[in-house]
Amino acid sequence: MDITESQLNTSTVLALSGRLDGLASPVLDQKVDVLLASGVRSVVFDCSSLGYVSSAGLRSFLTAAKKLKAAGGRSSFAALTPAVHEVFELSGFLTVLAIYPTAAAAANG
């Protein structure tokens, strides 16, 4: 999985591409921790090029959402691919995470 970081308004966008599996998820955890430590409080996870997520990846997303919320910040998840949307749906994540059709909408949300 590749992570590309960019800035959109006041949000930091992490564009995830490839597969968020059990091997890749610790990399994302570390990235989020670094952002939090540097004072970032709004993170958009752009999933438009993310083709696969396992429960290890869901754990990373959930942990990131909880940490940002606890820090007074916010997380959002944008442009889910059909495969990732299905896993979110089956896991009940569509109702606990903030989901947006695009990264731009998420950054403005």
Partner: protein
Amino acid sequence: MSPPLQLTLANDLAEIPRLAQAVETYCEPFEPSMKDILSLQLALEELVTNVINHGYADGHPHDFLVTLSGGAGSIRAVITDDAPAYDPLARPEVDTTLPLEERAIGGLGVHLVKKLMDVSHYERRDGKNILTIERRLNAPDRPV
């Protein structure tokens, strides 16, 4: 018809991408949908991760087997390990309706396996854990 494929995996999470690639390559001749492949990869990652992370408590390297077989419009995978007896499918069902703060991730992997597979079955035989999963390919009546 492709003969079954037997893979020997080490108890190391670095095996997950190799397993995913093997699933894709093995399934291809059976003309599955992309969703079929992703579902089988996901179910196998979840179950294999359980074996890797929790199966062996001694900290030593271990090998276990994954066998893929296909036919009659479905793909079957069997995971066989010699770790202590453990049935991951017997975990209590997770509550996927709790709010963010109360959400726990434990059990979600097995929940996904049960949702995405048509068959998920555990047995303990000859000192081995044997997990069998199966998914019908291109099934038109699938709810998700």
